[in-house]
């Protein structure tokens, strides 16, 4: 159908090792994500300022000497807040994503493997969460559980559980209907074996793409919660908090909001590219072997490789 598999590439073309194993589509976004994470870890060495130090004589100053990205409304160095912020922001959002996946994908897969009833019960529970819009749910949870990064992370994670669970379920059912799963079952493979050997590797691509979307959305949700007054602790240098706080000073100090916003957009873009690429990487074969499922299988010819026949 669409792209031909690698096997069909003209034999003459030779790509360099790096090109072949790490094309720009993966390298560049991966480098950006890693760079941001590394910057967070290396923050103390990259900037002389503490993210908390205030210079009350230099409020909302634009970029200049001493403060490469300027200062915020409390005279704090934006660069160092951005760098130190990478730590907490990535940590909270990654943890939130992990929670969403642990509950949504982990529990989801467990229930799906256990069978019809477990699936029904779990998804009834998840539907409960789904019956409230995510932000509202997170808000209720944080106010209920108390503020702080713990409840924040939990609230972020929980509010994304339904999305992950539903994507996982769809992917699972798509995969579970395939004949190789049945074949494994006919050899006596138990649920765990089928899950780990056949289903998980085949839905990993879908899950990765999903994760690449949810991670930045955690960051954005955190900033929304900060904006609504229930985010992380007030001086914590998270990007979300920075965006929310400086949105009040957007006219005086546009740089203060642009810095975290641009970083966030960059991260999102990279993650989304990376997600797409990784999925494609993960699934060089999928395009070709993706048969619609046993019931509707009228045109296997369309998915058949050309070099059929002969031996």
């Amino acid at each position: 159908m669409s792209a031909r598999p690698i096997a069909m590439m003209p034999a003459g073309r030779r790509a360099s090792f790096l090109r072949r194993h790490c094309p720009a589509g993966i390298c560049l976004p991966a480098a950006i994500v890693l760079l941001l994470a590394a910057a967070g870890l290396a923050a103390p060495w990259l900037t002389a300022h503490s993210p908390l130090d205030q210079d009350l004589l230099q409020l909302n100053k634009g970029p200049g000497a001493g403060f490469p990205l300027g200062t915020d409304h409390l005279g704090r160095d934006i660069l160092s807040r951005l760098l130190y912020g990478a730590r907490s922001t990535l940590a909270v959002s990654a943890l939130g994503t992990v929670i969403a996946f642990a509950a949504g994908a982990g529990l989801g897969l467990l229930a799906l493997t256990l069978g019809h009833w477990a699936e029904r019960i779990l998804f009834a529970a998840i539907d409960l969460i789904r019956a409230l819009p995510g932000t509202l749910l997170a808000l209720l949870l944080i106010v209920g559980l108390g503020s702080g990064s713990g409840p924040l992370t939990i609230a972020l994670g929980v509010s994304f559980v339904p999305v992950v669970a539903y994507v996982t379920r769809a992917a699972y059912h798509r995969e579970a209907a395939r004949d190789y799963v049945l074949a494994a079952a006919s050899f006596g493979g138990n649920g765990l074996h089928i899950l780990s050997r056949h289903i998980l590797p085949n839905i990993a691509g879908t899950l990765i793409t999903q994760a690449a979307i949810i991670l930045p959305r955690c960051i954005v949700t955190e900033s929304v919660l900060s904006f609504l007054g229930v985010g992380s602790s007030p001086d914590a240098p998270t990007w979300g908090r920075m965006i929310a706080d400086s949105s009040r000073f957007i006219e005086r100090a546009p740089h203060a909001i642009m810095a975290p916003l641009v970083t966030l957009v960059l991260l999102t873009l990279s993650l989304s590219l990376l997600g797409n690429q990784l999925r494609r990487r993960f699934d060089p074969i999928r395009q070709e072997t993706d048969v619609p499922g046993p019931a509707a299988d009228p045109a296997p010819a369309a998915v058949r490789p050309v070099e059929a026949g002969g031996c």
């Binding site: 395939r178 004949d179 006919s186 006596g188 074996h193 050997r197 590797p201 058949r304 026949g309 031996c311």
Partner: protein, 538 residues
């Protein structure tokens, strides 16, 4: 009337730089039928689409290619010009009626669209024409058919509706792209007969695409045999079939002939039967509240002796695969009993490993039966590990099994997508035979394969059965194939077994009306040709 209706000169089609069709030339006269046959992927459909101007956007036509309709050049890449011809001068019937009819519109609506296109004057005349067309394609009860949606029609009725659409304009050229290959044998025969009658009435030229030699022989005056985009042989139908020159055509012809000579039935050993099934029923569970469960099987009883082959014959959706899954323990029946080698499994919570080893199943679709992420070796290793048969010798075992299905060790490290369909199906067979089962369940294992490849696989299977002596449950819908391979046959219809008995007896003297209809629909045999011996095919 000097020009043929359709002329093709040096048709070249390339998609993404890959040549799909090469230098194809032919012409069809008024009232004449040309059959295009060839293996899957040989470019038959692309040729048809090129004529209609419906090639996919990334396809390119060769510079030298010339297509003429009634002597007037066609410009397939000019959408506006082509649109003017479609549905008026030429129309097309596609392979799979279910997916080619819009599920969102009533049948009447879709035919009416075509009538409008052909230029209907007013409401009443359009309505009259609609009824007329529906009667023309011999659909029952036109007023009710008009209001139905495609999914409310049977496959044959859907194909008739497609035909009605295509005939709305009484086109000069009718292209039929495998119009019957998705249909049951009974329906197939009716549709072919209908095409013949319609052509006699309207006098259209017809391009008939098929991979079924018998159908081509039945319908066409001219034959073009394609392979990998090239016409390997073309000429008058009778002549080509009687004296196939090209090796490929010969193989195609011989395949059919082999099937007609059924091998001697296997010696059925007395003793414990491999499978005994009684009063089996199965309901597919529902996902929605208040919906009634779907009864896919009802009151099925059968028995397969050791070393015996039971063929299961039935149309699509009759419950064949469900039965196969139940017998192999992949599903648990709603009621009834199944015993494998004397052990009841119908209500067992787990099936013990030894039983699993003794009974293996192979699936219809070779593309879905192998995990795309596992190499052939790891795919083959899986049953050994799961059935606790792996040991120091398992590598050799796997190699030997592959050799048994004529695949060399170089395939071990390939991924499924690097194999052809036939090769994959052979891997599946090898994998199933690794555990030396005493019962092999084959669920339409050759339906998805090319005619020539089909034969290779079938011959090989028969040979393996002869040496290993396993019993077999062979599910299929091709009567000739099932008859060829089976000792006994059970005919299924709507979840029930309507008739079962000795293979030869069932086909020569069917008792039930449904079975009789099935047999009657078989196409007349091809004219006798010199048959090369069976081994040459593989």
């Amino acid at each position: 009337m000097t020009h043929p209706v359709l002329e093709l000169h040096d048709l070249d089609i390339a998609i993404a730089g890959r040549r799909i069709v090469l230098d194809l030339s032919f012409a069809i006269d008024k009232g004449e039928t040309l059959a295009l046959i060839g293996e899957s992927g040989s470019g038959k459909s692309m040729t048809a689409l090129a004529i209609m101007g419906l090639l996919p956007p990334n396809a390119q036509l060769g510079a030298r290619s010339r297509l003429l309709l009634d002597g007037v050049p066609l410009r397939p890449d000019d959408e506006t010009a082509m649109r003017a011809l479609r549905g008026r001068r030429m129309s097309m019937v596609f392979q799979d009626p279910m997916s080619c009819l819009s599920p969102f519109m009533t049948v009447g609506g879709q035919i009416a669209e075509a009538i409008d296109r052909a230029g209907a004057a007013d409401r009443t005349s359009r309505r009259e024409r609609l009824i007329e067309l529906i009667e023309l394609v011999e659909l029952p009860d036109p007023p009710s058919i008009v209001r139905r949606f495609p999914h409310e029609l049977s496959g044959g009725q859907q194909q008739r509706a497609m035909l009605a659409m295509a005939l709305a304009a009484e086109p000069r050229l009718l292209i039929a792209d495998e119009p019957t290959s998705a249909l049951d044998a009974t329906v197939q025969a009716e549709i072919l007969a209908l095409l013949k009658r319609l052509q006699a009435r309207i006098g259209n030229a017809m391009l008939f695409i098929t991979h079924d030699l018998a159908a081509a022989a039945d319908l066409a005056q001219q034959l073009v045999v394609m392979r990998a985009g090239e016409a390997v042989e073309q000429g008058a139908a009778g002549a080509v079939l009687a004296h196939p020159k090209h090796d490929y055509t010969r193989r195609l012809v011989s395949t059919r002939s082999i099937l007609r000579a059924a091998p001697a039935p296997a010696a059925v050993t007395r003793g414990q039967p491999a499978v005994e099934v009684s009063q089996l029923a199965y309901d597919y569970p529902v996902r929605r509240l208040f919906a009634r469960p779907w009864r896919a099987l009802d009151g099925v009883s059968l028995r397969i002796g050791a070393g015996e082959t039971l063929g299961i014959l039935g149309e699509s959706g009759s419950g064949k695969s469900t039965l196969a899954k139940l017998v192999s323990g992949l599903l648990r029946p709603t009621s009834g009993e199944i015993s494998l080698f004397g052990a009841p499994i119908a209500h067992a919570r787990t099936i013990d490993r030894d039983l699993r080893r003794r009974c293996q199943i192979i699936f219809q679709n070779p593309y879905g039966a192998l995990n795309p992420r596992l190499t052939i070796e790891s795919a083959m290793r899986e049953p050994l590990e799961l059935l606790r048969l792996s040991g120091s010798g398992s590598a050799e075992k796997i190699e030997r099994a592959l050799a048994d299905v004529n695949l060399g060790p170089e395939y071990l490290h390939r991924y499924p997508h690097q194999l052809s369909g036939g090769q994959r199906q052979r891997v599946c067979i090898a994998r199933a035979l690794l555990s030396e089962p005493e019962l092999l369940i084959c669920d339409e294992i050759v339906s998805a394969l090319d005619a020539t490849v089909q034969m290779q696989v079938l011959l090989m299977l028969k040979e393996l059965q002869a040496t290993r002596g396993f019993a077999m449950m062979f599910v299929g819908h091709d009567i000739e194939i099932v008859r060829w391979i089976s000792d006994r046959i059970a005919v299924m219809h709507r979840g029930r077994i309507v008739e079962q008995g000795d293979a030869a007896a069932i086909l020569t003297a069917p008792r039930e009306p449904y079975t009789r209809k099935l047999i009657a629909a078989m196409l007349p045999p091809l004219p006798d040709v010199t048959i090369t011996d069976a081994t040459q095919v593989a």
